[in-house]
Point group: C2
Chain length 332, copies 2
Amino acid sequence: MAGLAWKWPRTRLPVGASALGVFVLCWLYIFPVYRLPDEKEIVQGVLMQQGKAWRRNHTAVAVFRKLLEDCCDPGQLFAMTKQNSPMGKNLWFDGEFLYSFTIDNTTYSLFPQATPLQLPLKKCSVVGNGGILKKSGCGKQIDQADFVMRCNLPPLSREYSKDVGLKTQLVTANPSIIQKRFQNLLWSRKAFVDSVKVYNHSYIYMPAFSMKTGTGPSLRVYYTLKDFGAKQAVLFANPNFLRDIGKFWKNKGIHAKRLSTGLFLVSAALGLCEEVTIYGFWPFSVDLHGKFISHHYYDNVLPDSGFHAMPEEFLQLWFLHKSGVLRMQLEQ
Amino acid sequence: MAGLAWKWPRTRLPVGASALGVFVLCWLYIFPVYRLPDEKEIVQGVLMQQGKAWRRNHTAVAVFRKLLEDCCDPGQLFAMTKQNSPMGKNLWFDGEFLYSFTIDNTTYSLFPQATPLQLPLKKCSVVGNGGILKKSGCGKQIDQADFVMRCNLPPLSREYSKDVGLKTQLVTANPSIIQKRFQNLLWSRKAFVDSVKVYNHSYIYMPAFSMKTGTGPSLRVYYTLKDFGAKQAVLFANPNFLRDIGKFWKNKGIHAKRLSTGLFLVSAALGLCEEVTIYGFWPFSVDLHGKFISHHYYDNVLPDSGFHAMPEEFLQLWFLHKSGVLRMQLEQ
């Protein structure tokens, strides 16, 4: 049959060329061709601003909250709840390609009816883990907030509390930490339960549905805390919220494989709190006086390169600081 | 080359015929061609004996213990200990073909230095789970022993205690139970901890190294009890002991894929205790008065057919009873 015999004219270029084209476009999307100010320039810019008095701009706060509400509805979608994730609902992992899951009886039973936070929260401290917090003496100020949020189960032992405080109402925990530090809770679980006692009555906020491999460890955190009658409870991050926040910042020019936990948390705080002050968000190797500092306040382990876009994220947060949307605390 | 060109003369039979031959030999090994007395005959035989007074034959007890010591050394090898399983030792799973494991740092730390049992144990009750225990009123007699051993985490709730007692010093738990009833302890573990409270201060004896898939759940039982500060502690069955006991009974004519937990436990008791009385070892569907009874005292779930050889095992135990090596209690 003539139809079956018909073929495209044969060339040697198109397949490779199209693949290359797609690759270049993706590359440009993730690593665009524009010049980001270097570390020195950023530090200079921050220094120039340091003397000036900072005032919260309530209009700017309201405008930014409206933007967040329109894109991501943090009040409703921050965590998985029975309300926003009914049984049988299909959701996509936000950190995977092409994998979804369906809320079944067991998973549904782990969600609170609605968000358990008393919204709006008043004064919030969001504490990043930057080395700039070391010897900052910010602990007291951090703890004066009504609601303190921290990232990735940071240490809060006596040696740090003067600088980072102790109060915690919400702390994020990536499943990778559960894997590395607690063997995915497959064996003994007591070390984990003991290690989170420092967070007292707080929510452990887990992206259980970002990557397929993270679901098991996250559910195990839930069961472990419940089994031990711990003071902490798990809130599962809603993958739709994380995806929407990711898109929001991508549209504002942040190009990275994934936003940092810190920026997710600041974004949530801006949607949930009336006043936000952030601490320890400083991804550079020198402080404002040019002194070398460690990457975290508790160690100097650098993140995987090329996964997050920390300087870009910093510039966005710095812009919010200058606009009066949030206060970024960089010195005592 | 001439050597390479040489071939076996070609026929169409040998491969199939040899395979069939091997199959028949294996079949005969597992299901030999001898006639086992049927249920009625066994019950009749037991009834004939019932009137007669039973006396422990101390010579027979000593002879049998010597046999067990020579083959299997229960006192030393009953459980995994630091003494019999040093670091780096290679052991074979007794329920698998061709799989071994090496004692590493982590596994080694789970073993007691030596057997924690005060040997020899004096009077032991070994309690099978046969339906014949129902309405037997044997509970008091069972609990009068110094050391009570039970099989497969049986229920001991108030409705059963009059018949089966409550005292327990050692209870076996197959990993399959942990899988079926407690989801392999991968999620919540509280239900398991609560369910074993009934065994008070006792050892949970687990064949952790019989099948590869059983190791994980068994170790999780260990960690769970430790994490919760439970009164129960795990003893891991030594696969060499289980293999040796299996061979011992195979040589005495028991042909089955695997011995029942009950016979393993009675064998251990005969090696560890001065006096052994066994209860609930009755695998038949009628009692001594011809009345139909359930398979277990708590349910009527039958075992997988063809896996154990219960009537054969019963006959061996009955022979030991008649010889005065152990006492088999079948009625009140």
